[in-house]
Amino acid sequence: MNYKLYKKKKTKTQFLSKNINGGVLMDFKHVNKSEKRVDVYEKVTGKAKYGADMKFQDMLHAKVLYTEYPYAKIKNIDTSKAEKQPGVKAVITAEDIPNNEFGVIIENQQVLAKEKALYIGDGIAVVAAETAKQAKNAVEMIEVEYEELEGIYDPLKSRQEDSQLVHEELEDNEVIHHPLRKGDIKKGFENSDVIIEREYDTPFIEQAYIEPEAVVAVPYQENSTVTVYGSVQNPFATQNAVSTVLQEDLNKVRVVQNHMGGAFGGKDEVISSLAARASVLALKTERPIRIVNTRDESIKESYKRHPYNMKYRIGATKDGKIQAMEIEAVADSGAYACQTPFVTWRSVVQATGPYEVDNVKTDTYGYYTNNVYTGAMRGYGSPPIIFAQESLMDELADELDIDPVELRMKNIYHNNSVTASGQKLDNHEVSLEEVLTKAVDKSNFVEKFKEYQKEQPGDKKRGIGLSISFRGCSLGAEAIDAAGIILSLKKDGSVTLYSGLAENGQGLKTVYSQIAAEELGLETSQVNFMEVDTLISPDSGSTVASRATLIGGNAVKKAADNLIDKIKEYIADKYDQKEEDIVLKDGAIYGKKDVEIMKITEMAAKAAMEGVYLTTYGWYVSPDISWDEETGHGNPYFTYVYGCQVAEVEVDTGTGEIDVLNMTAAHDVGRAINPANVKGQIYGGVLMGLGYGIMEEVETNEGYIENTNFDEYMIPTVKDMPDIEPIIVENPDPNGPYGAKSIGEPTLELGAAAIANAVANATNKRIRSLPLNLEKVIVGKDLTKGGDH
């Protein structure tokens, strides 16, 4: 069947974004250009200082003693021998922590284990010594008396009524439950000609930033009680955590972000924990304290992506219209709540996939176990769900004997579609059909899919698969969604920009500088983006959820617009001009009849001398959203992005090896502020999705982590890279700066599902758990865990 027959006529409404000079779409000077990144020089010369590169006078090195058992009572800690070791200046335990518990949502994460160790990465004590070697040596001298306990390591067990409690002060092991109800599920299934039920599983995943965690806490610098430097993804969350732990006012705790060697969501609570430990030691010793994790410590201690167990039931008419979906997703929260409530919330919003379904019953859950705790990782509750739901769609297509593109075409959202939450998608271009069509055309999907379904000789079999998603931009109903920028035009015409959102490597500095330069008519190189410093940067929440361009970019625009207003006021007053005639462009100020009044640098100097202060503040609050916790009704996100990825693979059915030959990735970003940057995000995200699909898995065994370094936790090398065809789609969003929205997470969340569908096309066998490793391809199930998928 030719899916093109079902292609609806495109009703592309013009959603123009506001821009400078009042609504006229102009050629951009900096925006939408692949300008060079502003922070590259220091990185290619080795001059950039990351957390572990920071050196302070009299700095001490600290090492953590981790628990020996994943779940154990701590009966006694004897640090006396350790304290006497050469070079040791202090040893702390939970007793020394003023307030031992913190957390972004639920404050039950221990800085150091007090009565019990709850997971294998719990810290018991910290030693500070003159050298790292001395600290390590002293750590081995600490004597701990444990009572090993039997832990619980399966959320499907820990959810049961009679299960032992991970947190004894709580009633049960449920961290959260998000329900969503729409329509009448019973009727929906009754109206279905075909109903299928499937179960899918995804594992713990490590963010695997190449830079391990690193912090330095410096006591009594200037007027701060403690200043924390390091690889801090969310400086304000860390500031909050340290303030809570030390029981110090926020204005006494300062966090300064260094260059970061990647985060991908993974440097939030774990960094806060290290920062808190270092801060306590800093105040105890009155010396700077450095804590840098080895890779093994990082993998053991830091939070992971949630493993999910997902049960889907879907009903459709025989011509492929989905009637009902019933979904249950269970996430393993590990020992602490961390971000589980929010991660599983995104899952409940997006669990059906981007499909019109009138009858939906979704329940997402998070449960405590004694496994490593889980939290934010790029995607944040979407990659597991997309793996399940896009695999399911192909399984349904197979059951109905309809091709995968056609089945999706029949069900995907369009403008004015209504989601499972009852939200009408009417304030932006819903471009699912566009990204699907573009990716499918570019990859020659339809023809290849048919071809590969036929019998292929030999062991090496080819397959092609696709996956499609919608993603709510920014935080949605998780938290207040606002960001601020301080923009300062100095008297010599140079500009500093303070942002509360942080450069993790994704190119935020460059994008913000481009936006500021675009608005102010300057060169990008004239803008100096300052590192996030809680002393002055406005608390803009966390750098997560692919929100930096969208929310932060809007704040940059606002700050710039406020500055322009000030300049217009000044010029109009001084130079007999009308404010509406004044334009800033090409480094100068133009007035009536497009005549140049003076250069911006000249104006800046003059203004300074005349007491006009050219520093402004831009605060952007995202549009209203709504969410009913009982029913899952509302408008959970104020806008969405759409993406489609196609993977072509060659499966070696003789050895189980999967060679991902090429991937096509079509993403609607609203507007690409920096197209080369967007491409970089696509390449990087696609490869991370590939790793999720075929090689990555944190292997746990009764709470122990078996693969704690990169020899056994494998991430893709350059030779694993497929040919990647990036397709940037731009449908400017009225809510985004210049129409821009999100790219960071959408590029990762689709890959595994597309590969899984490709493998099924190649082998005619369906694997329902990640990763699609050698054993699963050959034997059909995981061998180490005796899994049954």
Binding site: G656, M695, T717, N773, L774, V779
Partner: protein, 289 residues
């Protein structure tokens, strides 16, 4: 914590004298790509380590010597040197193929053939072809030197016959007539920098379109890399067009299981060893034709 004193030897004599003195307390380091990992991981078998003897400067241990009937590879030859060697590419190309799959460029620039053999990993990429080639190792001690077949030197996973006061100084590899066909297969969990899940070295002469002196060695399938003599017998003198691949696959898998018994990995390894051998044979046959 592992603490040690550093010792350096500039000649074999110096080295063996130090080993006589320190025995169990000393470990030898050259390229370091295995040892430094063990030290970082604080491996159990490093208990009692008090000295690290660096032999990376010992003269004469990095030779690639062309003798009449064999190649002598000094223990300090790095994998990169093996790959770059014109002589090896000409006379023993399977070694080059195997060396290319080891680690990364950085690791190959430091890792040595001596280290690979001494580590005695069941998955070692050089050991499998060396077993197929019938290589012998040369060990020096203060008492003199001894030689024994590599297949006898390696006694178990990560275990070998080296005495505490011995240094492996070279490996001798008998030449094959250059018209032997050779094939190296390696199954990996990703495309680079990966340990072999299974590896396979096949060497064979072809006479009248029949396999002659066929050697089949698997690594990472049995506790040590070994030649699968049963399947070799099965294929010896068989016509290349007369092969029942299903039977060969079944018998190969069975030969492995006969040695290892049923293990958790057997459902995977049993079919795959057969598939790999089939692939190697078919690639060789294609070359023949």
């Amino acid at each position: 914590m592992i603490e040690f004193e550093a010792l350096k030897a500039n000649t074999i004599d110096e080295a063996v004298n130090i080993l006589d003195d320190k025995e169990k307390e000393a470990k030898i380091v050259a390229g370091g790509t295995d040892l430094l990992v063990s030290i970082h991981n604080e491996n159990e078998d490093l208990k009692g380590l008090n000295y690290l003897l660096d032999i990376s400067s010992v003269k004469g241990l990095d030779i690639i010597e062309d003798n009449e009937d064999h190649l002598k590879l000094g223990a300090l030859c790095t994998h990169s040197e093996i790959i770059d060697s014109v002589l090896i590419n000409e006379k023993l190309p399977i070694l080059r193929k195997a060396a290319q799959t080891i680690g990364s460029t950085q690791i190959r620039n430091r890792g040595t053939v001596g280290g690979n053999i001494n580590n005695s990993s069941p998955a070692a990429d050089l050991i499998t072809p060396l077993i197929a080639l019938g290589a012998t190792v040369v060990l020096h001690s203060s008492k003199g030197k001894r030689e024994l077949p590599l297949s006898e030197f390696i006694t178990g996973p990560y275990e070998n016959n080296r005495k505490e006061n011995e240094i492996l100084t070279a490996v001798k590899i008998p030449y094959l007539p250059t018209d032997y066909y050779n094939n190296y297969q390696k199954v990996k969990r990703r495309q680079a920098v990966a340990i072999a899940r299974i590896n396979l070295a096949v060497l064979t002469d072809i006479e009248d379109n029949k396999f002659k002196d066929i050697r089949i060695a698997f690594g990472s399938a049995t506790p040590t890399a070994i030649r699968f003599s049963e399947i070799e017998k099965e294929l010896e003198n068989k016509h290349i067009n007369d092969i029942d691949y299903d039977e060969i696959k079944e018998k190969t898998g069975q030969e492995m299981v006969d040695i290892t018994g049923e293990r958790w990995s057997t459902p995977y390894k049993k079919p795959v060893v057969g598939n790999l051998l089939k692939r190697a044979l078919q690639e060789i046959i294609k070359e023949v034709q």
